[in-house]
Amino acid sequence: MKKVFFPLVVIVALLFVSAPYLIAEAPVESTMGLVQKIFYFHVPSWMAMYTAITVCAIASGLFLFTNNRSADAYAVAGAEVTVLFGLMGLVSRPLWGRKAWGVWWRWDVRLTTALLMELIFIACLLVRKYGGPGSEKLAAATALFGGATAPFVYKSVDIWRTVHPKTSVVPELLKGSMPGSGLPFALSAVGFVLLATLFMYLRVRLAKQQTQLDDLYLAYEES
């Protein structure tokens, strides 16, 4: 990972610098107008969040059943990055909704389930921070439940009646439903997912150093 860290930083920086220009050049959508351009970083932030959720859920499961401390480091990194990118999605959606729906927030199934999922991952981090000794296991179990809600949040717009655009908008866009918008969206999505990967890498490093410090303190106290 160390070998790819700096090239990854450069790629993410390039993508984030080029994204605004490409998004500005992308066509304006017919019914929502300019505000639809929030889509180019709203959806990628959810994609980054789902990447982090996947890492967090798998690592939490591993930590719960094998007690692997490295898996615990990945679980906490995944949970933090999930909360970060979830917050980006939850803030950008009302900004989009204010123009598209006329209100900042609707208790729509997608928005509500996404908010609940965000709260589960915040709960996971709070349990870990304030739960005392052994709270890592409880946090891992909470994260597993958070991970289990993710598919429902994603498919909610297809299952229930909602004002939120369906999941098909992304594949349709990539197929060319709005010529000129596929590339900016794809680059933005790659940029966000790589940014989430970078953040998780840094957070895993921090968690491992914290574990090392705790072990050294214990050894020092015992000597």
Partner: protein, 90 residues
């Protein structure tokens, strides 16, 4: 028996409620580009777009800053402990 009656009554009440749901609203399944030259804006959208993008940047930078701060703190603690251990072993 009461449970069975209650269950049947619930089913009878729930049946029409499910059957007479209004047809699904026309949620968008794809985006269509606007015809060039036609105005679709009634309230300014640019501040909302800029605010959303700015929030994404600020949140990402703030998180990066917290990680850097925590990494520095752990590094300092590690160094302090190493010094303590070295002076204790002498």
């Amino acid at each position: 028996m009461k449970t069975i009656i209650a269950f049947v009554c619930s089913l009878m009440l729930a049946g029409p409620a499910v059957a007479f749901q209004p047809p699904p609203s026309a949620a968008q399944s794809e985006y269509v580009p606007a015809t060039p030259g036609t105005s679709t804006e009634q309230m300014p959208a640019a501040p909302l777009v800029v605010a959303a993008y700015a929030f994404v940047w600020v949140a990402a930078m703030a998180y990066l800053w917290t990680i850097a701060r925590r990494l520095n703190k752990v590094d300092d603690d590690l160094r302090a402990l190493e010094r303590k251990t070295a002076s204790g072993s002498r």
